[in-house]
């Protein structure tokens, strides 16, 4: 998958806040070599940015403005709740989520952005891999997630303390959250992972239970199947509208999709 994503870059959708020099256009006009415009000198401006030649010719003091470029810190939040361990035999949802996390981390790192990994489990967000620009973030993410089993309590991880900023990538089924969240002056991506079996459940009669709560059981019968499909479809539509209304990019991903194609389509949104 990483070979398939080689050369893919992930530009920011909007000018990024000022920060460390990076590949994304910043909101701040700085002193880079790429000229943008002149602005009359105001008190307090850095005199080193005066265009002395223009001042000598016209006796007017102008400041030379250029576009600034900054990095866009990227945080990947992956849902590790018990509902991601489905189907129980193959764990397709979790495997696809892990592949997406590794792929997005690799693409963001290739763009020069610092990438970090958080794991969501219920209401908690655990700090797994700190943001870094070092190469090999894909391996670090794979290593962190490979040792993890959805639904099991995470040991040794620190709860998130700092507010989430920059680019947030939510990967999960959103059945246990989180709430729609777009950081201020940042951007968010919501990748809704759904198993094929959830979209088209088996037609034989089953008494299904919630992996998060085994006591919550409902019969999946011929009489209830169509109502289930309607309710699940309505919930997906509401979720999509909520994320998009908040300014996030929403993408439904099924376990039949290939992770590299999903990533390519998302970064070009």
């Amino acid at each position: 998958m990483l070979d398939a994503l080689r050369g893919v870059r992930w530009p920011a959708r909007h000018p990024v806040p000022p920060g460390s020099p990076g590949a994304h256009r910043s909101r701040r006009l700085g002193a880079a070599v790429e000229f943008t415009e002149y602005r009359p000198y105001r008190y307090g401006d850095d005199p080193r940015r005066l265009d002395w030649k223009l001042l000598a010719r016209t006796d007017r003091a102008y400041i030379r403005l250029t576009d600034d470029h900054a990095v866009l810190p990227t945080t990947i939040l992956i849902d590790a709740s018990a509902s991601m361990a489905y189907p129980t035999a193959t764990l397709d949802k979790w495997r696809l989520a892990v592949s997406l996390a590794i792929g997005f981390a690799a693409v963001a790192q290739a763009s020069g952005d610092p990438v970090g990994l958080h794991v969501m489990s219920g209401d908690q967000v655990m700090h797994e891999v700190p943001r870094t620009t070092r190469r090999g973030i894909g391996s670090a993410v794979a290593s962190a997630l490979g040792a993890m089993t959805p639904g099991e309590p995470r040991r040794g991880a620190r709860p998130r303390t700092q507010p989430l900023t920059g680019r947030l990538v939510f990967i999960g089924d959103f059945l246990q959250g989180p709430d729609v969240m777009v950081p201020p002056r940042g951007e968010a991506y919501a990748l809704h992972v759904v198993a094929r079996e959830e979209l088209d459940p088996p037609r034989k009669a089953l008494l299904v239970s919630d992996p998060e709560d085994d006591t919550f059981r409902r019969p999946l019968l011929r009489e209830t199947r169509s109502a289930y499909l309607d309710a699940f479809g309505a919930w997906r539509s509401a979720l999509r509208m909520a994320w998009r209304a908040a300014g996030a990019e929403y993408r439904l991903v099924t376990t039949d999709d290939r992770a590299d194609r999903v990533i390519r389509s998302v970064v070009r949104m």
Partner: protein, 361 residues
């Protein structure tokens, strides 16, 4: 087995099949599984009808279905057919003194016998249990042989579709008595007579006939009246006053009164025979002009021995009677079978109740 009302059996089979289906059909919770999106399934009773591939209480099921099938079979009125031969022959083989050669009787019997169910009854004065056809010195009695034959034919009806009675005999006069025709009439079919050569002492002899009519040599002690006289196949009905009797010693009865008492005898002589008739003939009335009396008179005037022998065709030319009698017993009594089947069904239902109470906690 033949069912007279097979639709009851079909209905019972359908009912038993439905019982089996209901036994395999169970209401239970469906198999469990996990679905993360279970919250979108509406509330609904978690009971479904499913097929139980490994049903419990198979003994109860077997008892129920067997009881239903037995009830259906009972109301279907089964008739049980035994393995029966097509024709059983009841062969009455004469071995009395009237027979000329026993080997001829044996050949005739073997010619008649065709199956394992055939019964050969040798007879002389009485029917014999042994199978020997050796000629005996005693007088033959066809009446006794017929009674034994009818009894054997009654038994043969259960093992054969038809029964044919065959008489291998010269059927000379001294073998036939007044009861012979009555006994013979008890058999609804024709009796096939296979004639064999009569011994010369019994065969009709040509010669001079001395007819003594009326023979008044043996007057009766008291006057008696009777209503008819029988000779061969001729019956003369009239008010007869019996004044005389006959001495049957060394003679053959050729006519009898209706109560069986001899009315005419025939005694062999070296040159012919003497026939003594004690039937009074009144000149009053029309007796002498009635056809049956004229026939009776001709019989009395017939040749020696003619009255004492019956020709074979005389037994079997009665076209109103079938040559073979079809067995009246088609099978076991349907009522008995039905009762047994219903009893069996009740027993099975009781057993089902006991087993169900034993197995059900």
């Amino acid at each position: 087995v033949t069912f007279l009302a097979p639709w009851y059996l079909v209905a019972a089979g359908a009912l038993a099949a439905s019982v089996v289906v209901l036994h395999y059909l169970v209401m239970r919770q469906p198999p469990r599984d996990i679905l993360p999106t279970v919250r979108f399934i509406p509330q609904h009773p978690a009971i479904v009808r499913t097929w139980n591939r490994r049903p419990d209480h198979l003994l109860v099921l077997a008892l129920r279905t067997a009881a239903l099938l037995l009830i259906g079979a009972a109301f279907a009125r089964p008739v049980w057919h035994r393995h029966r031969v097509r024709v059983a022959h009841i062969v009455l083989a004469d071995r009395s003194r009237a027979v000329n050669r026993a080997t001829e009787v044996g050949d005739s019997v073997r010619h008649v016998e065709t199956g394992s169910r055939d019964v050969v009854i040798p007879f002389d004065s009485t029917p014999s249990r042994d199978s020997s056809l050796t000629r005996q010195s005693s007088r033959g009695d066809i009446s006794a042989a017929l009674i034994a034959g009818l009894r054997a034919a009654s038994h043969a009806e259960s093992v054969a579709e038809s029964v044919e009675v065959v008489l291998v005999s010269p059927a000379v006069g001294d073998e036939i008595d007044a009861a012979t025709d009555s006994i013979r009439a008890l058999w609804p079919g024709a009796i096939r007579l296979v004639p064999v050569t009569a011994h010369r002492d019994s065969a009709p002899t040509a010669g001079h006939l001395t007819l003594i009519w009326p023979d008044t040599s043996h007057p009766r002690a008291s006057l008696d009246t009777t209503s008819a006289v029988v000779a061969s196949n001729t019956v003369v009905v009239a008010p007869f006053a019996r004044r005389w009797g006959v001495d049957t010693a060394q003679s053959t009865v050729v006519a009898r009164w209706v109560d069986g008492e001899p009315a005419a005898i025939e005694q062999q002589a070296s040159t012919g025979c003497t026939r003594r008739v004690v039937v009074p003939v009144s000149t009053a009335g029309d007796l002498t002009v009635r056809p049956e009396f004229i026939h009776f008179s001709r019989l009395m005037h017939g040749a020696c021995g003619a009255m004492a022998s019956r020709r074979g065709g005389e037994w079997s030319t009665d076209t109103t009677r079938p040559a073979r009698v079809r067995s009246r017993r088609a099978g076991l009594d349907g009522g008995d079978v039905m009762a047994w089947l219903v009893a069996g069904a009740i027993a099975l239902l009781v057993a089902e109740l006991v087993v169900r109470r034993t197995q059900t906690p």
